[in-house]
Amino acid sequence: MTTKITVDPITRLEGHGRIEIFLNDSGDVDRAYFVIPELRGFEKFAVGRRAEDMPQITSRICGVCPTAHHMASTKALDDLFHIEPPPAAVKIRELLYSMFMLEDHALHFYFLGGPDFIVGPKAPKAERNILGVIGKVGVEVAGQVIAMRKELRELIAYLGGKVIHPVFGLPGGVAKGVQKEDQERFVKAAESGVDFALFTLKAFHDLVLANKEYVDLILSEAYTHKTYYMGLVDEQNRENFYEGMIRVVGPDGKEFERFKVQDYVEHVAEHVEPWTYVKFMFLKNVGWTGFEDGEKSGVYSVAPLARLNAADGLATPKAQEAYEEYLQTLGGKPVHQTLANHWARVVEMVYAAERFLELARDPEITSTEIRRIPTATPTTGAGVVEAPRGTLIHQYDTDERGILTRANLIVATQGNAARIAMSVDKAAKALVHNGNVDDGLLNMVEMAFRAYDPCHACATHALPGQMPLIVSLRDAQGNVIRELVRGE
């Protein structure tokens, strides 16, 4: 029996995802646990607060995707106060939201998740970061990434007051609109956004799809799970980030159910495990049978891969093209390969950019009709958006003054929590044998969950994909025989 090696006491830092791998006597993986050791209780201290404060309070759940929480919360307020925002307000909200999705996806692709592919999974760790990406795609592109991110965030701040924790959302509309003289700036940003998204798509082609090794990796069984998939769709079942019906397709790709967010309690439920603070989402109408694949298991998945599975198409031309090619290459719907998330994310970038441009050009966004004042008594309300990392639901009950009596939040990453745990377990089982592991394993395992771009800021503190990972191997007696750690 090897003696315990402690590679890294960053284990002392809570709020980090943790993987505990138990080996059996033969040194093979018995079970790998993916542990999220943090909880902040937002749903509890939301009680007693004024409803109108929720968009700002809940955005503090996550400083990376505050806009998603802010928007889901704002939409919950529309529902709560029984008020329909004027068309211009809806467009301004979606305009801002498209910018946010584009910017967030770009951040992940270039800075966080992307390096695995662009630089290559086998590349030395030191290169697998933004600098490595720059090396591959060239400095001016990196400059573009930074410049575009800056411009998009400035425009978000223009409307939202602040880019981190914006303040524009109100029941029945938005607090601030677009000045006529500034519309051109939005259009310009959108145009370069589209170019940039297409460039990124091309880069993905050249660097990833052109490389058989990568494609094989994507398609490999170790990274495949057959689960249900969830996403927001419009009337024609095309993907939508901002509004629509929640659609669930089965492992067979057929529609399983389609419902309004107000009915979410009838369709989704949370499973509690004693060894992690995160609650695992599952489909109520299938039931929880454990961390399992297949249509008998209520486990479902969210985020880009899931969204493209749940939708029948995309509402903008170039994105639709990219979508079709994506399906072709991966053998049609549904796509079960976890690593395909990276590709799906690029496809969504194109959609976000195109939608951004449509709205930026729309004359109505400069309208001053951006608010309706609620008159009905607030009761209960639910709101949903597609956060970069999946379907995000906020639901509030209030008293007649609009003071919260109950809050329930279904955070995007929760939707993937079960599948992430399974992916990690599966990768570990596939790669660890006879108790021997190497850093390669670590990266492979990390890729298994990084593909989801899990925003544990929403449940923990770490930035997406940046979550330092600790793997501890324990022998049958439960002794830690090896600990491996990934910072970045």
Binding site: T11, R12, H16, V35, G48
Partner: protein, 155 residues
């Protein structure tokens, strides 16, 4: 109240021109009242900053009494009304935080109302005795003490 020999501490913020004098008059008139009261004098009840009230609670007061001139009698025209404005909102905060009604009082007591002053003190002390120490009636959480090493859980 479980604890028989429990004695509440009350901090009173009083206006120089009325309630403080009422307290003096209670003295010159040898009116007896419980020793639980600690008077802090300001020129006007309008000087009493809610910060003072909360700090008094934080630093161990079981009750806080603010004493001002009767409406219309303020030596500075309307200082006591300003005190009233703040008191109304402060009361709401106290209620939200579970600080019982009996613990925070605003009373108009003129310079000649020594008896009223005594009665208010008696009444408040009585009620607070029944209520018991705030720490057990409504604990204001202390900062969490550093856990002993063995209980410190490491992931």
């Amino acid at each position: 109240m479980a604890n028989e020999d429990y004695e509440p501490t009350i901090v009173a913020f009083t206006c120089t021109w009325c309630t403080y004098l009422a307290a003096d008059l209670a003295g010159t008139s040898r009116m007896g009242y419980p020793a639980n009261l600690r008077i802090i004098r300001a020129m006007c009840s309008g000087r009493i900053d809610p910060q003072f009230v909360l700090s008094a609670f934080q630093w161990g007061a079981d009750g806080v009494l603010i004493g001002g001139c009767h409406p219309g009698d303020c030596h500075y025209q309307e200082g006591n009304y300003k005190a009233l404005r703040r008191f109304k909102l402060l009361k709401k905060l106290a209620a939200e935080l579970g600080i019982e009604d009996e613990r925070l009082r605003l009373e108009w007591i003129s310079a000649s109302e020594a008896d009223k002053f005594r009665d208010v003190v008696n009444d408040m002390v009585e009620k607070l005795r029944r209520l018991g120490p705030r720490s057990q009636a409504q604990p204001l959480p202390e900062a969490v003490p550093a856990p002993a090493p063995e209980e410190a859980v490491h992931a």
